[in-house]
Symmetry: C2
Subunit: 423 residues, 2 copies
Amino acid sequence: MSAVNGIAQRLPYQTNSTLRQQINAGDVQYEDLHLSHMSQMVRSGFFQKLDMAIVEVCAVTEEGYLIPTTSLGNTTAFVDCADRIIVEVNTTQPKALKGFHDVYDVQPVPHRDVIPIVHPDDRVGVPYIVCDPKKIVAIVPCDIPDKPAKLAPPDAEFEAMSAHLIRFLHEEVAAGRLPKHLLPLQSGVGSVANAVIQGLCRSDFEHLTVYTEVIQEGIFDLFDAGKLDFASGTSMTLSEKGLQRFYDRIDEYRKKIIFRPLEISNSPGVIRRLGVIAMNTALEFDIYGNVNSTHVLGTKIMNGIGGSGDFARNAYLTFFFTKSIAKNGDISSIVPMCSHIDHTEHDVDVFVTEQGLADVRGLCPKERALKIINQCAHPDYRPMLSDYFQRAMGTTKHANTPHILSEALSWHQRFAETKTMRV
Amino acid sequence: MSAVNGIAQRLPYQTNSTLRQQINAGDVQYEDLHLSHMSQMVRSGFFQKLDMAIVEVCAVTEEGYLIPTTSLGNTTAFVDCADRIIVEVNTTQPKALKGFHDVYDVQPVPHRDVIPIVHPDDRVGVPYIVCDPKKIVAIVPCDIPDKPAKLAPPDAEFEAMSAHLIRFLHEEVAAGRLPKHLLPLQSGVGSVANAVIQGLCRSDFEHLTVYTEVIQEGIFDLFDAGKLDFASGTSMTLSEKGLQRFYDRIDEYRKKIIFRPLEISNSPGVIRRLGVIAMNTALEFDIYGNVNSTHVLGTKIMNGIGGSGDFARNAYLTFFFTKSIAKNGDISSIVPMCSHIDHTEHDVDVFVTEQGLADVRGLCPKERALKIINQCAHPDYRPMLSDYFQRAMGTTKHANTPHILSEALSWHQRFAETKTMRV
């Protein structure tokens, strides 16, 4: 669609490189939404009337119910709200996906009831989408398989981050602040988050559960290592090899995996209730604990916030991970001030890079700065960050959040001026 | 306490001017938390063991139950977690407060059940705090009354904001995006938020409900105008006159008001479920829709984020209000880039100043900028903001979020250099 300039407006998330270029050239309007908001905004009519929805399924039952594929997402809301529906039966997706889904419709306000999930493996709905047959204007076959996910190969930095996480979780259990089998884990999309959760295979933790948005490769590694009891998500992104592993033992995995509508997988209430441990990836974070997860140099969007805000904001314990440097060391991922903020200083408990882990719970901004600089920043950048912080303390006479406004964004500025941005 | 330098660390919120100076001089460590996080963090031991809690009540029953005053807040969590408790019986608070409270304890993870509130007036707990009598080391009397709230008198700008809001709400009802009696209203602390909700007295709306954190003067005006059926909050801040009105008809108000623990009043799940309309105040917001509600010139803290994030993030419809200029016009409250961000571009639906209202639902950052500049900024600052935006478009070749990093904070910078900050 994007390759033929067929998209005028896109929301709520994207990961395609062609589309990214079009958005950053002003050719496509992109609204980057918290994913848990999307269905509600569609249902409430905030985006005007929905004319047409194209819905991917693996099968249509004799009763006319739709069986989704490995991506449930906002399909239910689109089916409920669109005037006309084109059903695309993807023949590359096995019919054995029947039984993986748990579709519970969140009622419209002001008549919403509780979403009664109290454990990640609670089934509260039906394993199909009910669709008014009158709305279906076409059922078409499709034989295009899912694009396999490409993940960066494991490296020493990923392993270091994972080791920091495991050590910290053990300390929390020992201190009585986390139960022995931890709490339901959420893990963001991409190589860093995947490597971190995959790393738990090398830990002593057992009987883990996952309550997440996207089920990635690492979660299957946890299953196969006998560490994981159950995983709940809204969709799945796997490599070709990972997909084969899934298909080979699909009947076994059906007992251990639920796909839920996005408004349930990312529900603020369910996340808070379950006490999820949220683990997401930052592009950069600043010395006071603000996180940029979307905009390179504050201007060009990378992918989008996705569900990271839904989880980070409502979790029991919120982690952000990033390598301490990027572009072969030309950029520090820890900066004086983020050039764009998606998760605020109020939202994050623990920061992790390959250098170390900064637990900032209960700390004021100045204490956070010292900890983040000393424990997360790359040694090459620590002196510059400390220098900025100390001079900002002097300039503002120890204000709550010391900054030198004329310098706060200078690290990005310098890079924007001297390097060509390739995003 | 702050006047005698008796506070080393403060959290999760503050409004005292002495304490504010101490925080901004680096003498007090302040952690500015989302209020819904506080009880959970106390209960989970994130702040270490709680030695002692001083708890204000209006009465202790024969059974040893504690009847809180007009501020329930996090008292339940403190009582549950502290080793020793000093109970302070405030004799200026009437015993007739008995029956206003609804104490429902959120269980610790991993055994949390649903909080079964589906209407603002649902009572789900008990009207007192259960406290282990063995923990109580002293019961002391106290005759210091609540400090009356000081609110700015109504003015033309407040009235204009309120009029914009009422017109918009009518349009939403007409378009079928809001029910006739709206949805439960939340309104932040302070003069602006109070004036806005008070303004609804002059609207045609009836049978309104409130699901908020702090019950202010304007909510009683709504009751007395016959517009409001019910209000749920965690505490109350009133003027001397307002307090007298409350006391005079306390038996009547008891049927219409519930005080809940903060973890319930600000519960992300309950807020999302009820579909709250969140109305909070910004210090400044930027052309792309990020909000600063805590830090003057990015460095000195004003009060804190309080519950604004709990509501803004999880509401059905999220508003931020501010006057378009401050300091007699020396400062524009709409800026190229916020100097501190508490609510991100992903969190807000509608911006309101006395100039007008910008509904940014479904808009990409560049569309948002045009709307916010043209409809919310003061006419004196519109040309400068448009000029910045247009040049940023050129510099970044229409990137998703155009910025000129060397200028983005220059408005604050100029002010920080030329004026003495009095915060």
